[in-house]
């Protein structure tokens, strides 16, 4: 009897060992993942972030309409936020969202980022920043309208389609958040877009070109009057 129990016991031990080895094998083969938490491996320090130096003060003075002192103060603020000299999209989105606490400003920040990032390399340098600001604050009316057109034209093909405009409009309405009066209905952005297209699209071809845009805006007294709105921002 004891022999039988002993053999059974040995059998049990043997089977347990087999199962454990099987699990280990599966883990080795990668079929099972026994590691639950990721152990931070002793990897080397990641390479320091890319650093960018801006062009000289004199060159920037020539390219923009800012004075030397203004450029200096702009750079100091810029450098404080982004010591590496480059703003990537995530940082830009988080900075911009802080100004609109009620809503979700990330989509609009994305469009804005693309409008500033002129060479489309995924980051804004100080030069892009300052040149964009120069156009917006000190540029002529045509230049400002050009910039706005560039903002709306998401794929930068020279035409604003209804879909692009709808995307921009939705992102603007997103920034308002939920708690608005009157409550933002779902059709509000598309109605707004329809009105916009009615006004802008002269030849009813479904797209707004830069000429139509500039022409319509120049005829609109309201828009022209408010172009000087942000002159003294800096």
């Amino acid at each position: 009897m004891s022999v039988r129990w002993e053999t059974e016991g040995l059998q049990t031990v043997g089977i347990v060992c087999l199962v454990i080895m099987f699990l280990k094998l599966m883990h080795l083969l990668g079929l099972i993942d026994i590691t639950e938490t990721d152990d931070s491996s002793d990897s080397d320090l990641e390479l320091s972030t890319v650093r960018h130096q801006p062009e000289g003060l004199d060159q920037l003075q020539a390219q923009t309409k800012f004075t030397r002192k203004e450029l200096q103060s702009l750079y100091r603020g810029f450098k404080n936020e982004c010591p590496s000299g480059l703003v990537d999209e995530e940082t830009f989105k988080s900075i911009y969202s802080q100004f609109f606490p009620q809503g979700d400003a990330t989509t609009y920040a994305h469009f804005l980022f693309n409008a500033f990032d002129m060479d489309r390399n995924g980051s804004i340098r100080f030069e892009d920043f300052v040149i964009g600001l120069s156009v917006l604050l000190r540029g002529s009316v045509t230049e400002k309208l050009n910039w706005a057109f560039n903002l709306y034209d998401i794929n930068k093909d020279g035409y604003i389609t209804k879909e692009e405009m709808l995307a921009i409009m939705k992102s603007i309405y997103d920034m308002m958040g939920r708690y608005t009066y009157p409550c933002v209905r779902d059709e509000a952005p598309s109605e707004h877009v329809d009105k916009f297209f009615q006004k802008m699209d002269r030849n009813r071809d479904g797209v707004v070109t830069i000429e139509e845009f500039i022409e319509t805006c120049q005829k609109d007294e309201n828009i022209m009057n408010s172009m000087q709105l942000f002159e003294n921002v800096i």
């Binding site: 026994i34 320090l45 320091s48 308002m176 608005t180 009066y181």
Partner: protein
């Protein structure tokens, strides 16, 4: 090139005169250096502390801020120095880097602050000298781990669900985080209970019970109440199977889920039952059946979902795997050695229990772990000597890896405690952030009211207008522009819920205004966006409530009306009444009138005014409409 080399360059160039006689071709022209030769002292003012250094020192590293033309952005023409608004204590180290070529890391500084300074001055951290590099790396790794934990806790499961989550996602969240919903909590406790029941049943099954009639021997309870235990086992397995299938269904990545440890434990816990069902009850395979019964005890590991301590223990053991492996290996070596020695020492004795070397293994293990059962005892002197050496060395071998395991456990345990503390602090932090956001919104609403007050009654406005910084003014102007763009206004949560209630119910107004507003409400079947007809109701409302609210609870109604023609006299009447109102700057309670905003009253109508098509050109022209505004008229009625 290193800094020191630059100093020797003129010497190397001068020594090139030695090549001149041997040269095959004529020498190239030397580069013309137009920059002024004379070295000058630069003044660097770092938050008040003036540093001076040669220009050449800074020029050694032209790809940093101080070495390049980037420092011109910080040049102050009035004082003829470079002004940096940074920490001057750390600037010392930065400047020393230029002077000596070696960057040192001050140990008492916070690693992140130091990193930020380096990033600002454009210095790459890899240049840190060997003397300080190790410390820097250690601190940096510690900081990164802490940040990783932070982000992990941030994107944690306590965050509220996105409103548009599928039932599957919600189910998964309920499983992963039981305290998010009561159903999940109930399920969590039920499964825990059943695990306990199952384990206890397994244990009690083997306890001997009083034998039934006609038998003499004691029977284990498992065989006496076989049916009862079988039913209990079935119930538990059913629950576990159901839970496993639910988890499998809800998992966002089924493959990953199936490979995780908990899933394996779940499978191992329920498989024996099903295999037992399938297998026939004959003698040949009963041995394997016994083994399967053993596996049922693995159900106790399912508790690790319920207990964090168990998880910590498991993780500790896993992370100390190398130490444990070393322990095991050295123990095995020692066991084999001592067992062999003891066997040969005791071989001659008659009746010795040391029948073979594997039999001596048992003695060695028991002795080395200082258990000392006494079932096997050496009799010869040599055996006793070797036995004592065995027990002494056992203590040493086992004591060695233990501190490593203990320190690992302590580190992981503290990490977990920190994570728990952080989760608790997170709630406070989120609440504070929400308050700050609400504060911004309230400040903005206040700003809108004050804008209306401006130009009204300057005395009272002076009392009310809080001291607001230029930044706040500009920020509020920005928010205002956004409002004009979309033709919607910002409100706060309370008002919004009020509005949405009134929107669904229709417009109930208080006091004598019900009739007029109801008329208006009936004309507008859709939404809370007011239409043309309600304007008239609003005017009547304005007239009536103005008289009512004088001196009493002040209601503020604000209406937005799309482009319409507005009888001019309304505005003047409004203006007249607005003047009479007592200005109240604090928060106000509001009743569920048509629309109320709990802010001081009297928002003047000269806010957003309709452009071209409005038939009230002179009065309602808005000089500040933004480019994208719609034709809107905002009239506040009181």
């Amino acid at each position: 090139m290193a800094a020191g080399v630059a100093t020797w360059l003129p010497f190397a160039r001068a020594a090139a005169v030695g090549w001149l006689p041997l040269a095959k071709k004529t020498m190239p022209k030397p580069p013309v250096d137009n920059s002024s030769r004379s070295d000058e002292i630069l003044y660097l003012n770092v938050s008040g502390v003036r540093f001076q250094t040669w220009k050449n020192t800074l020029d050694r590293y032209p790809d940093t801020l101080l070495g390049s033309s980037e420092k011109e952005f910080f040049f102050n023409e009035d004082t003829e120095e470079y002004f940096f608004d940074r920490d001057h204590e750390m600037f010392r180290h930065i400047l020393n880097f230029y002077r000596t070529g070696k960057l040192h890391y001050p140990r008492h500084e916070c690693i992140q602050a130091f990193d930020e300074e380096l990033a600002f001055y454009g210095i790459v951290p890899e240049i840190i000298g060997d003397c300080c590099m190790e410390e820097y790396r250690d601190r940096k790794k510690e900081n990164q781990e802490r940040l990783a934990e932070d982000t992990e806790a941030n994107e944690s499961m306590d965050a509220p669900l996105p409103p548009d989550s599928t039932p599957r996602e919600r189910l998964w969240r309920a499983f992963e985080n039981p305290h998010t919903s009561t159903m999940a909590l109930v399920f969590y406790y039920v499964t825990g209970f059943f695990i306990a029941v199952s384990v206890i049943a397994n244990v009690v099954e083997t306890v001997p019970c009083r034998p039934p009639e006609g038998r003499v021997k004691d029977l284990p309870c498992g065989e006496k109440y076989q049916l009862a235990f079988f039913c209990m086992d079935t119930a538990c397995v059913l629950i576990f199977t159901f839970e496993y299938l639910m988890r499998l269904f809800a998992a966002p990545s089924r493959c990953k889920f199936m490979r995780s440890v908990m899933s394996v434990i779940d499978v191992v816990a329920i498989m024996p039952y099903y295999i037992g069902l399938v297998m026939p009850e004959n003698e040949d395979v009963s041995g394997a059946f016994v083994t399967l019964r053993v596996f049922r005890v693995f159900r106790i590991f399912k508790f690790s979902r319920h207990s964090q301590g168990l998880r910590i223990l498991g993780y500790t053991l896993k992370s100390c795997a190398s130490e444990l492996g070393f322990l095991l290996f050295s123990l095995t070596m020692a066991i084999i050695i001592f067992a062999t020695v003891m066997f040969y020492a005791e071989k001659g004795t008659k009746g010795s229990t040391f029948t073979s070397i594997p039999a001596s293994f048992w003695y060695t293990i028991v002795t080395m772990t200082t258990l000392g059962y006494g079932d096997m005892v050496p009799n010869t002197i040599a055996g006793k000597i070797f036995g004592s050496i065995c027990s002494l060395s056992g203590v040493l071998v086992i004591a060695l890896p233990v501190p490593v395991i203990v320190s690992n456990f302590s580190r992981i345990y503290h990490q977990n405690q920190r994570a728990d503390k952080r989760r608790a602090q997170q709630k406070v932090r989120l609440a504070r952030i929400r308050m700050a956001k609400k504060g911004t919104t309230n400040a903005f609403l206040q700003y809108k009211e004050d804008r209306g007050l401006r130009g009204r009654d300057s005395d009272s406005t002076a009392l009310c207008v809080k001291n607001r910084s230029a930044f706040e003014h500009q920020h509020h102007h920005l928010l205002h522009c956004l409002e004009k763009t979309t033709n919607h206004e910002f409100t706060d949560e309370m008002t919004y819920s009020e509005l949405c209630m009134t929107e669904s119910v229709g417009f109930r107004t208080s006091r004598s205004t019900s009739l007029s507003s109801q008329q208006g409400a009936q004309n507008n079947p859709t939404g809370c966006c007011p239409r043309r007809a309600r304007r008239r109701a609003a005017m009547r409302l304005a007239n009536s409530t103005a008289s009512v609210s004088r001196g009493s609870v002040q209601e503020l109604d604000t209406l937005h009306i799309k482009t319409t023609s507005i009888p001019p006299q309304t505005r003047s009447s409004l203006n007249a009444q607005a003047d009479n109102l007592k200005l109240n700057c604090g928060e106000q309670d509001f009743t569920a009138a048509i629309i109320s905003i709990p802010t001081p009253p009297a928002n003047t109508p000269d806010e957003s005014l309709p452009p071209s098509p409005a038939p009230i050109p002179g009065i309602l022209r808005n000089t500040r409409a933004t480019a994208f505004t719609h034709e809107t008229v905002k009239i506040s009625s009181l």
